[in-house]
Symmetry: C2
Subunit: 215 residues, 2 copies
C-alpha cells in the first residue's frame, strides 16, 4: 500500500515538473512577444494556456484518486495537499504569462516597453524566467537549499519593481500614461510569477522537511 | 461516521463564511481608506490581515483533520478539497484589500483617486464589496441560483475596468502618470477580488451539484 502510494506520488510530482516546464516556455515566449515585439509569439502563449489548464486538471484528478484510494494520513496527506496547491500556483503562473502576452499583442507592431524601461523590465523577465526554471528543478530534485536561494532572488524582484516605479514616475519619463500603465501592470505580473515560484519551492521544502519556510 | 463527517464539514463551512465576513470588512475599510482618504483606516486593514491568515490556517487544519480522520471518498472528498480552495481564495482577497490599503496609505493626506476617476473606482469598489458580501451569503445558504447572479456581476466589473482604462488614457486626463498607475493597479486589485468571489461561489455550486459552472 505505502509503496503504491509513493509510486503514485512520484508520478504526480513528475507531472508537476512537466507543467512547470510548460510554464517556463510560456514566460519566456511572453517576454519575447513583449520585447521583440511579436504578435504571433503572443498568440502562441495565449493558445498554449489551455494545455496547462488541462494538465492541471489531470494532476488534480490523480491527487484526488490518491487521496481516495490510499486515504493517506499525517505527513502523506499533507504532501498530497501540497501537490494540489503547487498545481494551482503553476496554473496561475501560466495565466500571468497570458496577461503579459496580451499586453504585448495589444501594442504590436510597437513594443509595450519603451527604450528607457527596457533594462528593468528585461531584468524582471529574466529573474522571473530563471525562478520558474529553478522551481522546476527543485520539484525534481527536492533540493531544500536551492529553495532557499530562490527566496533570495525574490528580493531582487522586489527591488526591480521599485526601480521600475521610480523610472516611470521620474520627471524624465516622456512616454506618456499608456506606456506607464502597461509597465506597472507588467511589473505586477512578473512579480506575481516570482511569488508563485517561491510558493512552489516552499511547498517542496514542506514536502521534504514537514516545515513551511518563513516567507 | 457520516454524521460526524457532515457535522465537521458544516463547521468548516461556517468558518469559511466567518472569514468571508472579515474579508468584506477589509474590502469596505480599504475603500474608505482610499476615498476618504484616511491612513488610520488603511493601517487597520493592514494589521487585521494577520487574523484572516490565522483563520485560514485553522480552517486548513480542520479540513486536513477531516481528511485524515474520516478518509472521505468520492463527492465528500471533493467537497473538502473545495473548502481548502475556498479558504485560499478568501485569504487572497484579504491580501488584495491590503494592497488597496497600502496605495491609500502611500498617498495620504491626498487621495490616490483624483476626482475624474472617482465614479468608476467607487463603483468598482462597490461591486467588489457587494460580490464579497453575496459570496458569504452563498457559502451559508448554498444557493446555486445566487451564485449564477454573482457571475453576471463579474461582467459589470470587466466593463468598469475597461471604462477606467479609457478614462485614464483619454486626452482629458491631466492627473499625471502616478495617479494613472495607482488607478490601473487599484482596478486590477478590485477585479481580482471579484474574480475570487466568483471562484468561491463556483466552488459552492460544485459542493451542491457536483458540477463546476463554466466561467
Amino acid at each position: 500500500m505505502r509503496e503504491a502510494f509513493h509510486d503514485q506520488l512520484e508520478s504526480v510530482f513528475s507531472d508537476l515538473a512537466d507543467i512547470c516546464a510548460s510554464v517556463e516556455v510560456a514566460v519566456t515566449k511572453a517576454t519575447a512577444a513583449l520585447l521583440t515585439p511579436d504578435a504571433a509569439i503572443a498568440e502562441q502563449v495565449i493558445s498554449a494556456d489551455a494545455a496547462i489548464d488541462g494538465a492541471r486538471e489531470r494532476v488534480e484528478e490523480n491527487a484526488l484518486a490518491l487521496l481516495s484510494l490510499q486515504a493517506p494520513v499525517a505527513t502523506d496527506l499533507r504532501v498530497v495537499v501540497a501537490a494540489l496547491r503547487m498545481v494551482s500556483d503553476l496554473e496561475r503562473m501560466g495565466d500571468l504569462s497570458v496577461h503579459v502576452a496580451k499586453i504585448a499583442r495589444l501594442r504590436t507592431p510597437n513594443s509595450a516597453v519603451p527604450e528607457p524601461a527596457r533594462p528593468t523590465i528585461s531584468r524582471m523577465a529574466e529573474v522571473a524566467e530563471d525562478m520558474v526554471h529553478r522551481a522546476g528543478e527543485i520539484i525534481r530534485s527536492r533540493d531544500v537549499d536551492a529553495a532557499g536561494l530562490l527566496r533570495a532572488d525574490d528580493d531582487e524582484m522586489d527591488k526591480l519593481r521599485r526601480s521600475s516605479f521610480t523610472e516611470l514616475l521620474s520627471k524624465d519619463w516622456d512616454h506618456g500614461v499608456e506606456a506607464a500603465v502597461d509597465i506597472a501592470l507588467l511589473g505586477r505580473y512578473y512579480e506575481r510569477i516570482a511569488d508563485h515560484a517561491v510558493s512552489v519551492a516552499n511547498r517542496v521544502v514542506f514536502v521534504v522537511t514537514g516545515e513551511t519556510p518563513a516567507s
